[in-house]
Symmetry: C2
Subunit: 457 residues, 2 copies
Amino acid sequence: MSIPAALEALSSLLKDRLVRSKSDLDLHGRSETHFAPCPPDAVAYPQTTEEVAALMRICTEQGCPVVGWGAGTSLEAQALAIRGGVVVDFARMNKVLEIRPEDMDCTVQPGITREALNVDLRATGLFFPVDPGANASIGGMAMTRASGTTAVRYGTMRDNVLGLEAVLADGRVIRTGTRARKSSAGYDLTGLLVGSEGTLGLITELTLRLQGQPEAVSSGVCAFDRIEDAVAAVMETIQMGIPMARIEFVDAAAAAAFNAYAGDTLPECPHLMIEFHGSDAGVAEQARRFGEIADEHNGKGFRWSSLEEDRRALWAMRHNGYYAILASKRGAQALVTDICVPISRLAQAVEETRADIAASIIPGPILGHVGDGNFHAILLVDPERPEELDEAKRLSHRMVERALTLGGTATGEHGVGVGKLDYMAREHGQAWDVMGEIKRALDPQGILNPGKLVRGN
Amino acid sequence: MSIPAALEALSSLLKDRLVRSKSDLDLHGRSETHFAPCPPDAVAYPQTTEEVAALMRICTEQGCPVVGWGAGTSLEAQALAIRGGVVVDFARMNKVLEIRPEDMDCTVQPGITREALNVDLRATGLFFPVDPGANASIGGMAMTRASGTTAVRYGTMRDNVLGLEAVLADGRVIRTGTRARKSSAGYDLTGLLVGSEGTLGLITELTLRLQGQPEAVSSGVCAFDRIEDAVAAVMETIQMGIPMARIEFVDAAAAAAFNAYAGDTLPECPHLMIEFHGSDAGVAEQARRFGEIADEHNGKGFRWSSLEEDRRALWAMRHNGYYAILASKRGAQALVTDICVPISRLAQAVEETRADIAASIIPGPILGHVGDGNFHAILLVDPERPEELDEAKRLSHRMVERALTLGGTATGEHGVGVGKLDYMAREHGQAWDVMGEIKRALDPQGILNPGKLVRGN
Ligand SMILES: Cc1cc2nc3c(=O)[nH]c(=O)nc-3n(C[C@H](O)[C@H](O)[C@H](O)COP(=O)(O)OP(=O)(O)OC[C@H]3O[C@@H](n4cnc5c(N)ncnc54)[C@H](O)[C@@H]3O)c2cc1C
Ligand SMILES: Cc1cc2nc3c(=O)[nH]c(=O)nc-3n(C[C@H](O)[C@H](O)[C@H](O)COP(=O)(O)OP(=O)(O)OC[C@H]3O[C@@H](n4cnc5c(N)ncnc54)[C@H](O)[C@@H]3O)c2cc1C
């Protein structure tokens, strides 16, 4: 039982689709954030479910770790093979298998990216709404239970995956869910797999809910002097039930970074960026009501537009936010935090975080999907100065403690990976043990993404 | 290890809250449908989580089956102790623990009924939207993953439970979920427990999402000559993205039963019953758009009203539908079917079902939450005539086969219980084995609701 024996068998299974070149290993050993590189022993590029099942049987027989890979954009080092073994890159399983406009669903392979899927959907008048900004793979998004800017309206991957095909540790291929919109037929295995970060199985197919493209879309920006005011406006908007499609917070430091990166001209103060979806009349009414709420909370210069180009410019700015912030400190790496709290605690959580960062030695602009109570401080560290990473970890730790104390979670959307593992016991108590028991029932040898998500994995 | 020894220990734990009177056993041995009565050995009425945990430890030690009981309204004999043992009735754990209007959530004990909860919520301007018609308990609704008339707008129990407290088979008390609106912190244990029919643990607390009472509500009825037309109108309404709050189908036989039961005066033909939630302008626009669609599909006499009394009368009629239908055949019992199919297959599924029933020896009016693709034929049998139950089972079997062939599920909302157990292998394939593996990991002795949901339980 050994990794070399597994690689030998895998290489006769996959031929040149088992790759061990340094460049490929390096590419699959990096993450987008501050984690140290950690190349796997090999990268596999399967093309069919049968190949994935055969691969899994080999790895089980040889006790070789198996780690899925979508687009590699996850932020907590989820896709790094920290115990070695084989990374399974789904780049060649990236097809749309079926689109069923009349049922507003589709079936895809895991490697397709959300942007490619939306291009394929365009002609149908439908779209897949979950939008983490990064051009992530649908399989990776399901595995981290991703969400992003539109979750406030359309939900997260939890809400938008109807069913899965998965290959379990022992090579069994299962299908979960049906194409019915709801079911009470037993345990929700789809829901159990979504968010499992590849620790229970590899996903080889996904059936997704789609949404109709709204008749009208408009978007806008509103500036605030104070964080409290911006957050209070968000809270009231949500409580009034205004069906916001997006409602994003950006602090003054983030606004400054956007300006410097792309020549934007935002006033350097907190902002909300919003989008409305609906009928022409509906969108106008929503914008009017939001405008009134913003006014009451000293919002300034709220303007909205239905022009496609304005909208694209706004969201390009927001979606480049991470890179703009990274660029604001030369040579920096980021520790990205991701707490989510009940909406009534959002102002407190953001303000205390802001104050903590202001008193620290490192910068940390804040961005957030605040309609869900979720925000990120992008803590910027110089990789040459270990004291900065220590400081970022201290700030991150305080954020998580704060979130848990306020009834929230250590990670609203980025997942556990390596970076949040140490908080699972605190967040879940004995329920974390139960996760481990489920893991061991389905993967007794612990070959699936070892070192992640559950205790002692 | 024995049931009598367990009862002795339970009786010193609970004193007069462990009941063995014939009347109480009989009450907890019946279901609302055709299943033969099956009284448990005792009924327990715990008052605290600690008592539930102590009870569970005793039952595990003695190998005594434990079956939860909410309001006993489930339709597949889920709450019957078919292997004997103790039924745990949550009637005395029925408090609202906390309502947090600013976060639009609340925490309740499992025994509270949805009607009682909504009375308590009234002053807050919020409501709990899941509405199975019956005045079920919130705990029971979570355990069957209930939905009902409003799921098309607000989702099912899957979407509306944020977190749980549960007592596992070994007496451990776990908490799942947080009060954050979303989280990526590990396996979704809340989602795993919802719909588990008491086979993985007893639920002692639930945190629920609430909804703001809409500014305006209006409702209406529309008649159709043909089932196909009614269903086509539903499909188009859903595909156009009109945010219906309710869209219910009733066939001619059901309309006739409603008339006979409560003196209603519906024309005896298929109908849609609808409700709109929104702003005054929004509701009017939705009604107008729905009216146009209904017109195109030969809908007749669509009228809508915002009067509270009209609305109450309409939904009282619909919610009494089951009893109206039962009363339409003297002394009848019902076998209630519950298939759910992709919306594009709904017309076919309803029509073929209708034709099957028309050709059979028993009546079977059809009702459905058709916005989700879910409908019920209420198959009426004379309990004295076994051939009628056989016929109902044959018809039900054909419906399930049809649903599965069309990409749907054997049960959209009622759950598995005893009645749908035989279809789980067909619906889930090997994924059903995986459910069994999870069950055995968490309840190795199989004391929690034995005989239900998983194979060989
Ligand atoms: C600039 C930037 C902005 C971002 N913004 C957001 C945001 O707003 N919201 C948000 O939610 N996330 C955000 N992210 C994080 C990231 O995009 C998400 O975590 C995304 O879901 C990762 O998808 P991926 O395809 O890159 O997955 P990967 O990183 O490749 O993998 C993620 C996890 O899934 C596993 N995996 C991948 N494919 C499979 C498979 N087929 N079977 C089994 N396991 C598999 C991997 O092993 C790993 O554990 C952002 C990232 C960046 C770089
Ligand atoms: C007239 C009528 C109409 C109906 N219409 C609908 C409908 O439209 N939609 C729908 O979804 N359902 C409908 N139902 C079915 C029923 O109301 C639901 O299944 C409901 O969820 C059952 O809730 P209950 O409190 O009665 O649960 P029970 O019947 O008491 O129990 C249901 C299951 O949950 C378990 N359980 C109960 N409480 C707990 C607990 N605290 N911990 C662990 N396990 C527990 C039981 O063991 C059992 O397995 C209808 C029923 C009737 C009689």
